[in-house]
Symmetry: C2
Subunit: 228 residues, 2 copies
């Protein structure tokens, strides 16, 4: 589904080069449930942005369903991305002047769904995330964890093939976090949706089929926790 | 140091009233190390904002060093707050057009410290948080956890009497989180600085002297974990 080949992202800071990601090879297959772990600053969000074609590599390639995304028109890429990939950003990136429900409906706008369908699906997703009574709140009228849950609902709006979740439960209490992880695992089992989870929470690596460890912009290990 | 008396915060959402905090009594003494736990949406950030005089109560009072803050001039309150209280916000609130170092120096500006002192202290704090090599990065050139650590450094800039930390390690890997908590405990022991930590991480309640549990805007329990 998504593949990074020797992917690197460098930033020129004048005196020195910051190597956010430094030659990463990783292949995400359909139906995978992968956890990406690593210290703060190790390159996880950078890797996610590259994998989700939200950013361009400095070196190496990113393949989406076998296609090198560097060869796609931006508009074509945006269309594919909107349809196939759901994002949960580390800092939510909710639209401040849209309510929780409108934020969840937004991705569906570009996928030719009817207004009524969009409303129903948004309501259903917010219900799944325990936010039925917060539909009409704006982001600044929501707690941190509620904003995070709206971001999660939004990422599922188009039933995407792959969900890239950058620390999806960092602002949630353990009970809410548990519910979110169970939701992800069910969608993975029942719908075959692919999940890539960046997290600092060791529990997330336990429920994943596969754990990749990122250190200083490079993958140190990439294996199945159960050892098989 | 800080006391909330029957403190409540209500939001009028047209059809209904949202009770973010609903009659909270809590007294934070000098040298305390308190953890505030509770589900997402239970009122923790609201309570912290009221305690830090960043917001006004709908009912009840907030006392800072024995003074009812509602009786203070806004300018007077701002001065006291800048001197006595250090904040770590759940969403960091770094100034986007200031570098990491400038963000840390900012609180000191209003406390009559010399430029050189401000620089040295900011560098020292960033060093303590493992960010010496990121001093000149702007917030959007920092990872989530690095931004969080800059926010932590900033909160300590004026050596405040009390640090109000709203989920200070949510974006940190366990090793960095551990270092931050050890730093807090040392400052508490050696400097007598008071810490109020909001967190979802059970580990934080383990290291605290006192744990208060917030449910639906009210304190359910407030005790010393060791039972004494
Ligand atoms: N400006 C506002 N208008 C309306 N409702 C609000 C507003 N701010 C907060 N709330 C509501 O008040 C409740 C408490 O919010 P608060 O941010 O204090 O929760 P919290 O315990 O910090 O949650 P979290 O752990 O998710 O950060 C939430 O249910 C939230 O929806
Ligand atoms: N725009 C940028 N300019 C310069 N350096 C950057 C930029 N973006 C990221 N970096 C650096 O690249 C490194 C990797 O950043 P990234 O956000 O991918 O880390 P992360 O693993 O997601 O960290 P965290 O767990 O703290 O969120 C960091 O050291 C960061 O300082
Ligand atoms: Mg990150
Ligand atoms: Mg909060």
């Amino acid at each position: 589904v998504i593949e990074l080949k020797n992917a690197a992202k460098y930033y020129n800071m004048g005196e020195n080069i910051v190597k956010a990601l430094d030659g990463v090879d990783i292949k995400i297959e359909e139906g995978d449930f992968v956890a990406i772990m690593g210290p703060s600053g190790s390159g996880k969000s950078t890797g996610m942005n590259l994998a989700g074609s939200l950013d361009h590599t400095t070196k190496g390639e990113v393949y989406l369903d076998g296609e090198n995304i560097a060869l796609l028109e931006e508009s074509e890429l945006a269309q594919i991305r909107g349809k196939k990939i759901g994002f949960i950003f580390q800092q939510f990136n909710l639209i401040p002047n849209l309510t929780a429900k409108e934020n969840v409906m937004l991705p569906m706008l570009f996928q030719n769904t009817l207004e009524e369908e969009r409303e129903e699906r948004a309501e259903e997703l917010l219900r799944l995330l325990g936010l039925s009574d917060r539909e009409s709140h704006y982001p600044n009228e929501l707690s941190g964890g509620q904003q995070q849950r709206v971001a999660i609902a939004r990422s599922l709006a188009n039933n995407p093939e792959v969900i890239l979740a950058d620390e999806p439960t960092g602002n949630l209490d353990s009970k809410s976090a548990q519910q979110v992880l169970e939701l992800f695992r069910n969608l993975n089992k029942e719908n075959g949706q692919t999940f890539v989870l960046v997290s600092h929470n060791p529990k997330h690596s336990e429920i994943a089929d596969r754990v990749a460890n990122l250190i200083d912009g490079q993958i140190e290990s990439d294996r199945n926790p159960s050892g098989s």
